[in-house]
């Protein structure tokens, strides 16, 4: 019996129900941000710096302003508050986790593509002409483009502070040096990972207008409608005079977590009093939005001869680019998860995020976990090889279990079934594929990962959801989630329908509107199901309890004997007495019993520790899983064909089986792209892969089917015991693929992407080394 065939204790939870939003999407009816038009809309464009590092000597906008059809030309001096500290959608003060957000470059340009001026005009063409008429005099600066260089005391200063270091963290547990001295095997390597672009299919877009009540309204493609506070602060408006609406998004993956178009639109609409639209081209998107952090990672890992990990030392340097944005958060994630899902008595982590004049880096699916996962899972294979153990056998001796401590000293509380995921993932690869030619080598790899779900406990995260019946028995949910495509609203509908005994079609979810839907926080951090799912569950249960109480009274039975399903209330074991849902709703309405409930769910919370020493609980919980991959390497060209991909995860409880599988499949695919292909190349701060013919992501012809294995421990903190899987599904995919490549060619590449050229170079150098070794050995033999 497969997991899917198991009898379920739920009516709808865990079923593979078609998502309600999929219907609109597949018939072309869903309106995304750029699909809305308003009468009298002006078109905005952004003037962006051509330099990565420069001083702005002067900006002359007069010629642009004089152009017919141009309604506004704005520079930093036109922004009421050009610099704000963004809390990234949170409400709780979180000290060092608030970031400077500078709307328009002022005096200094810190990365190429930084916004310098804004234009709103009657047509996009006029706006483009106006941009060209703006005269900016730059004084180019040397800049610094390598985070290791930027750490040096005499390095060019990217920002205004006298250091380029954004933040530093450390973890100390036990005594790594003593452990290294005693260990039987010590493996040391340096790993590097590149910039990554999210390539959500929908480029950034939005429209802003001032509504009939004078509220500045922005409809934009964003994962964080709660940037409305940042926008209000930028315009020095009261928070209740700015409204942000997020329609369905064409993907996010973290790239729409920071402000993109919202502030520009707000400024221009406020100035012109006209609707203003701004949609990025793909080139502008790649040039201007956040990137995944490149890391330099030095890892030293030690084990005993019997295969027990004894020490791990990690030094992490992340390239924050021109502004910090979420770099401190991302680095903290990396720091906590640097040693992976392994029990290690001695841990030392030192991590630094460093400003450079590269494009700024921020959130990207995995949020600092994929980088370190590539490093620690490469190390695990390297150590296993030295010990003569299989990758699985070595890992099985060292996986963390419930109750074990991370390097920070936090003892895991929820289910940890990494062993099972690893065994099942590897088994699912089946019989090894035979090489198709003498030039082909086949390899297999596994990689396990851990990834938090829910935001940092420092942030005191919360979510709210309103659930209410209409008198006809249909249900309305109002919940300020942003639906980025993962089935966020659909899952909320499914949870609601489960609890209230109605069908999914009976539930309408209003989402993503700061004015009309209770604020639910960000659709980031694999938190939406966990947080808003719990808030919705709480609200739905409250509504159900009220109705059941009323029905019990009407049926003259005790409430615990009332069953509520299929729009009917029945007394258990009594076939003769029942009430329709509508009867009970009407009775409640007459008696003044609310048919709705607004509930709030609060995640575990802690105050920020000022110390750089990272200790104790940092995240609410973690998801564990394993990827397995089989690849074929063409030794003539270095090209890799991914033959098999497996994702095995403890998802806690699948809410919608299709959505959960979809997350696992999609995350795994993105990881394979990270492993083999994706690489934002920058040349002294200039992005040279600014379009989708140079920044390549996998096509359908580049990937095999992804096999998914879902284990349902029920041990998660989400609704019905669910764990989050949006990000975890991607984290360990890349190292599974690279471990398979290493297995195929017998050489471990320590730099992503593992491109044909890097593979072929390694093969040639490996051959050269072997030839060299042979020639040196000859005299000795003689």
């Amino acid at each position: 019996m497969t997991d899917a065939d198991k009898p379920t204790k739920y009516r709808l939870i865990g079923l593979a129900l078609p998502r309600h939003d999929a219907l609109d999407k597949v018939y072309g009816q869903t309106k995304y941000a750029d699909d809305f038009t308003m009468p009298g809309t002006l078109h905005a464009k952004v003037l962006r710096s051509r330099y990565a590092a420069a001083r702005i000597v002067s900006i002359d906008t007069s010629a642009a302003e004089r152009m017919p059809g141009v309604h506004a030309v704005l520079t930093a001096r036109d922004v009421p508050r050009n610099e704000t500290t963004s809390k990234f959608g949170q409400t709780h003060s979180a000290g060092g986790f608030e970031g400077l957000y500078r709307v328009l470059a002022d005096k200094k340009v810190r990365y190429m593509g930084e916004a310098v001026a804004l234009v709103a005009a009657e047509t996009p063409e006029t706006a483009a002409q106006a941009l060209r008429a703006i005269d900016v005099v730059y004084e180019p600066q040397p800049g610094v483009f390598d985070p290791v260089e930027a750490l040096k005391p005499d390095a060019y200063r990217v920002g205004e502070e006298d250091t380029n270091v954004v933040c530093s963290y450390k973890v100390r547990k036990g005594d790594v040096d003593a452990a290294f001295a005693r260990a039987d095997v010590v493996v040391e390597n340096e790993y590097r990972v590149p910039f990554g672009d999210h390539v959500y299919l929908e480029p950034e877009s939005g429209t802003a207008w001032i509504d009939e009540d004078g509220v500045l309204t922005i409809r934009a493609s964003t994962q964080v409608i709660e940037h409305f506070r940042d926008v209000a602060d930028i315009l020095r408006l009261p928070h209740n005079k700015v409204r942000v609406i997020a329609p369905m998004l064409g993907g996010g993956f973290g790239g729409k977590e920071d402000i993109t178009v919202e502030a520009y639109l707000a400024l221009l609409a406020y100035r012109t009093k006209r609707p203003v639209k701004l949609t990025y081209t793909r080139e502008e998107s790649i040039l201007s939005h956040s990137k995944r952090h490149p890391y330099v990672m030095r890892y030293k890992t030690a084990a005993t001869a019997d295969g027990k990990l004894v020490a791990m030392e990690c030094e992490l340097i992340s390239d924050a680019g021109g502004y910090p944005f979420l770099s401190p958060w991302v680095l903290l994630y990396s720091t906590v998860m640097a040693t992976g899902p392994y029990k290690i008595p001695n841990v030392k982590v030192d991590a630094h995020a460093v400003l450079t004049n590269n494009t700024f880096t921020s959130a990207y699916r995995g949020f600092g976990a994929p980088q370190v996962c590539f490093a620690y899972e490469s190390q695990m294979d390297a150590v296993a090889a030295q010990l003569g153990l299989t990758p699985l056998a070595f890992r099985m001796k060292n996986y963390l279990h419930t109750g074990d401590e991370l390097g920070t000293g936090y003892a895991l509380e929820s289910a940890v079934l990494t062993d099972e995921t690893a065994e099942r993932a590897l088994a699912a690869l089946g019989e090894p594929t035979k090489p198709r030619s003498p030039w082909e080598k086949i390899g297999r790899g596994i990689a396990s990962g851990m990834q938090s779900y829910g935001r940092l406990v420092y942030l005191h995260d919360s979510s709210r959801s309103f659930v209410g019946f209409e008198l006809d028995g249909t249900v309305v949910v109002r919940c300020g989630v942003q639906d980025i495509g993962g089935g966020q609203t659909s899952s909320i509908a499914q949870i609601t329908a489960e609890v209230l005994g109605v069908s999914m079609q009976d539930v309408t979810v209003y989402f993503g509107d700061t004015a009309l839907t209770p604020l639910a926080g960000t659709t980031t951090a694999t938190r939406m199901l966990y947080m808003s799912g719990n808030a919705t569950l709480k609200a739905a249960r409250a509504v159900r309890d009220a109705l059941v109480t009323k029905a019990a009274e009407m049926l003259d039975a005790s409430p615990d004997r009332i069953a509520m399903a299929d729009k009917t209330f029945r007394v258990v074991g009594d076939k003769d007495h029942s009430l329709s849902l509508i009867e009970v709703l009407e009775a409640c309405a007459s008696d003044g019993i609310p048919l709705s409930n607004l509930a709030q769910f609060n995640a575990p919370a802690r105050e920020v520790k000022e110390s750089a020493n990272v200790e104790g609980q940092i995240h609410p919980d973690y998801t564990f899983g394993t990827h397995a991959a089989e690849v074929a390497v063409d030794t003539v060209t270095g090209q890799v064909t991914v033959l098999k991909l497996v994702a095995a995860f403890d998802v806690g409880q699948a809410i919608n089986r299709l959505s959960a599988e979809g997350q696992l499949e999609g995350g795994t695919a993105c990881g394979a792209g990270y492993a083999l292909l994706e690489d934002v190349k920058m040349d002294r701060g200039r992005t040279v892969t600014c379009a989708l013919d140079t920044y390549l992501v996998p096509t359908a012809a580049d990937l095999p089917d992804v096999t998914t294995i879902m284990i349902e421990s029920g041990g998660g903190m989400g609704p019905f015991g669910a764990k989050g899987i949006g990000e975890p599904s991607s984290t360990s995919s890349a190292p599974a693929v690279t471990n398979a490549v290493a297995d195929a060619i017998g050489i471990r590449l320590t730099r992503l992407p593992v491109s044909p050229e890097r593979i072929l170079t390694a093969l040639k150098e490996g051959q050269a080394k072997r030839d060299d070794a042979v020639s040196r050995r000859v005299p000795e033999l003689a």
């Binding site: 483009a128 060209r132 081209t281 080139e283 030619s437 030039w439 003539v636 060209t637 270095g638 090209q639 292909l677 190349k681 040279v688 892969t689 013919d693 140079t694 390549l696 996998p698 096509t699 359908a700 012809a701 580049d702 491109s755 044909p756 050229e757 072929l760 170079t761 040639k764």
Partner: protein, 299 residues
Amino acid sequence: MSLQSYVRPRGLDDALAALADPRTRPLIIAGGTDVIPAMRKMRLGEPQAAGDDDDRPGVVVDLSQLDELRGIGEKDGMLLIGAATTMGAIARHELVKDRAPALAAAAASVGSPLVRNRATVGGNLATASPSADTAPALLAANAVLGLASARQGRREVSITDFFVGYRRTLLQPGEIVAYILLPLSRGLVRGRFEKVGLRNADAISMVCVAVEMELDGRVCREARIGLGAVAAVPVRAFAVEAALKDREIDEAVARECAKLVHEHISPIDDLRASARYRSWVAEAVVARMIIDMACKARS
């Protein structure tokens, strides 16, 4: 931008007439898969760098729907392909797949299925990209290109002479590629095409190679080898061909002959690959293709 008008000629003569007057600054469009993104880049990028308005095209002449330039057929034992035939049509055509397999494979490797439904073989040649995938296949097939213009009339040239420099061809102003003629492979002649790209679809070649060999058992009677993305223009590897001629092919011979490919290539570093990688792969892929084809011939 200064595109003034759009012309969809009714026949080839109309088209040539429309292209004849340089004062109208004609711009030829067929599939548009190269020219439209180029126009967009110009619009998005630095318009001042693209020259004065006066230098830029005025009349768009659309060849994509000219029946005289479309279609695939057999003529005097040769395969005749209209220049405005799409890559998709070529890749799917049974006669091409059967009798010009290298060309079919090359056409099937261009861009994506969506691109192939627009992109034309004539356009692939006329834009003269060093990495044009059909060029090596046509070089290996020793194809003849039929050119046409109002001023010079019709002429036929060998594809070997067609590419004269980086993104330059011997097409004169107002002249177009009208058709392509290539010998139908028969008997012992075999053709193969291999593309080395960064991914399996919508990728620009890092190296592409086409080989046609006439094999008598394991003896190579004649070979023609075309390569793309390894020089300023698509090239023939004449030295390799000469070395293979009348040799009995085994792995050592193939490897030895393939080394001569370096006489013809001068690859560069770009975003996709380094010159060094291209050199390695050009030689190794040529060797492998020869070995594979000889092995297959034997069996």
